[in-house]
Assembly symmetry: C2
Homo-oligomer: 385 residues x 2
């Protein structure tokens, strides 16, 4: 089990066991989401049900010999053990929602097939993360807050997960995201009060609040600062948004910025699509979230396809303005329109910059199926009285 | 002319002369926008054509006796003359787009009548502002960057423009917007290299990059820091967004946050609605901008009502990531579909957080007609060959 993967026939044979309730989109690498109706039962997603998005086999990391490499200014490399990290830097806890760039991709594929895992609405989850602040570690290595001002700088991360040719997963975030005052970027070793599970990056991962999942590098091996973004495939040639006019023959990945902060998002988790619901009163539930620390200020719900709207009740924790890193859950209980046989339920959220979700999927369709944040629609049938 | 307004019959009789090309939405107070096709002729809007949004008569301020009052911690008030401001603090210049919350309101009124000035697409303009940094002035008064962390704090502004009962225009912004590292909030005394014009706040105004026009208080009289937002009518009971379900009988202004950062926006400025255009090739022009320093990453243009899209060319200055305070202009030259007799031209922009504009106006309709940022549509007729 702690054996090197390269010596085994199947590089995924060392992957950990998973919860049977997860809906699997890909086994190797492992990618899975919880059932939507379970997702919003808890404000903090239980670790076992937190969506899993792996790009490569889960590395077997020996915590005792583990060293985080941190490259300082001038190229000097620090090697920090886990006990050193925990001892040297104050522990910091933040509740953060992570969302995969491909969350709700299956709705895009219904418009026109896209390339990617067919995520439903649950490639998003929330946890209380515990660890050390990246800015404290970078300051210890010799970086100061102002450093990033001399030209745009980036903080690059390398994972310990590697493909068969030895290339590691990698990503980067802007220096200001890491080092700004109030920056809550963590090198996390705890998830909801437990040791980080193997699927979520044991023993140490990056958690970048407000930023797409793909930059939250797991099994963190190395941190460095660079005038260039990470050279990784996933930073350069993936996880970018394009016009619906762009296809695989015409795409030029240098023309679009790597996704960092995500746009405002919401979805209905209950009732399920195609469910039969009793007449009288209906309760609709879901989640809403936005990137960049922008809180959710309102969720509108329609039972008639978007013709009329009601304002949902927001639940879950309120967060600090500008640092609203976690989702709000919401619900609406409303009378079912008399005589209806079917309901077209729709939700749309508004964030603290008053950004809204687009009405339809087609105009935001993109070849990679990312950034799928149109109004979410669920059609249900009414049970006869 | 420099006489106190209260002694005159018409409080607006002291208002300055205006450029005849401006399209007037209200004379008293004066509110006007430039013709859309002039708006995008220049990256920096000429001062004479910059949209004007006054809430009250233009005050006659004597620059020699003018003092800015700055309330420090503990209530001590500094009184700073213009020469003192210019001498004590470094001059800082920033190119900033200002947009009225009501820009494009007339499109909302076409769905259902709203309360407010019937702005077209040109209640938005860009200038190079020169002045002192608000953070430098607040630091001089005794505030430190960290102060805002002890509970949410606000920086309140009071104008010298007053209604007949003596109540001044006022607004506030979050402390972190004013004091964060890299905060570019100015107390400006210059506009495009000229002395601030009377209609734009002579002798000193606030410029809050990335934030709705209404917080950019003109004819600035007083600055203070408070645990509460400005008690002003315009902060508390106006300039907020609501669900389309909310009307004047049900609205509760305490339930929505005061608008600060604005959502992503774009509009077509050329051709004009209803224009007749030659067959062959068409050039479409416009602007795009987003709040919060989020740059514009793409503008999609459709000549067929949103069925197919092309990517427009962005022009104007590129800006620093996270501090993209000014608009991009854009244009697209494309062949007119053969056989067409009418074109339904549409534009939509994408910002650096990949937020997009909503498809239609109706679902974002709100009783005050603010935040009108749906796709912009212009219908033109094709001249016969
Ligand atoms: Mo992802
Ligand atoms: Mo405004």
């Amino acid at each position: 089990e702690e054996q090197s993967q390269a010596t085994q026939g199947d590089p995924y044979s060392g992957d950990p066991p998973r919860h049977p309730a997860l809906q699997v989109n890909s086994l190797k690498p492992f990618n899975a989401e919880p059932p939507a109706e379970l997702l919003t039962e808890n404000y903090l997603t239980p670790n076992q049900l937190f969506f899993k998005r792996n790009h490569l086999p889960v590395p077997a990391v020996d915590a005792a010999s583990y060293r985080l490499q941190v490259e300082g200014p001038g190229g000097r490399v620090l090697a920090l053990s886990l006990p050193e990290l925990k001892r040297r830097f104050p522990k910091h806890e933040v509740t953060v929602t992570l969302q995969c760039a491909g969350n709700r991709r299956s709705e895009m594929s219904r418009v026109r097939q896209v390339k990617g895992l067919e995520w439903g609405v649950a490639a998003i989850s929330t946890a209380r993360w515990g660890g050390v602040r990246l800015r404290d570690v970078l300051a210890h290595a010799g970086y100061r807050e102002e450093e990033g001002e001399a030209g745009e700088q980036h903080v690059c991360f390398e994972g310990l997960d590697k493909d068969l040719s030895g290339v590691a997963y990698g990503a980067s975030i802007p220096y200001r995201t890491a080092m700004g005052r109030g920056a809550d970027v963590l090198l996390a070793y705890e998830m909801n009060g437990e040791e980080l599970p193997r699927d979520h990056g044991y023993p140490l991962r990056v958690v970048v609040p407000g930023v797409v999942g793909a930059r939250n590098v797991k099994w963190l091996g190395r941190v460095s600062v660079s005038p260039e973004e990470s050279p990784s495939h996933w930073q350069q040639n993936d996880y970018k948004g394009f016009s619906p006019a762009v296809d695989w023959d015409t795409v030029d990945f240098t023309t679009a910025p790597a996704i960092q902060e995500l746009p405002v998002q919401s979805a209905i988790t209950d009732p399920a699509p195609g469910a039969t619901v009793p007449p009288g009163e209906l309760t609709v539930k879901g989640y809403a979230w936005s990137g960049g620390g922008r809180g959710v200020v309102r969720v509108d719900v329609s039972l008639d396809g978007g013709r009329t709207w009601r304002v949902a009740e927001l639940t879950g924790e309120e967060q600090q303005p500008g640092r609203a890193w976690a989702w709000r859950l919401w619900q609406l209980t409303a009378p079912v329109p008399p005589g209806a046989t079917e309901l077209d339920i729709v939700c749309k959220a508004v964030d603290a910059s008053y950004n809204v979700q687009p009405d339809t999927v087609e105009p935001i369709w993109n070849l990679r199926g990312v950034l799928s944040n149109a109004w979410h629609r669920v059609t249900v049938t009414l049970a006869e009285d």
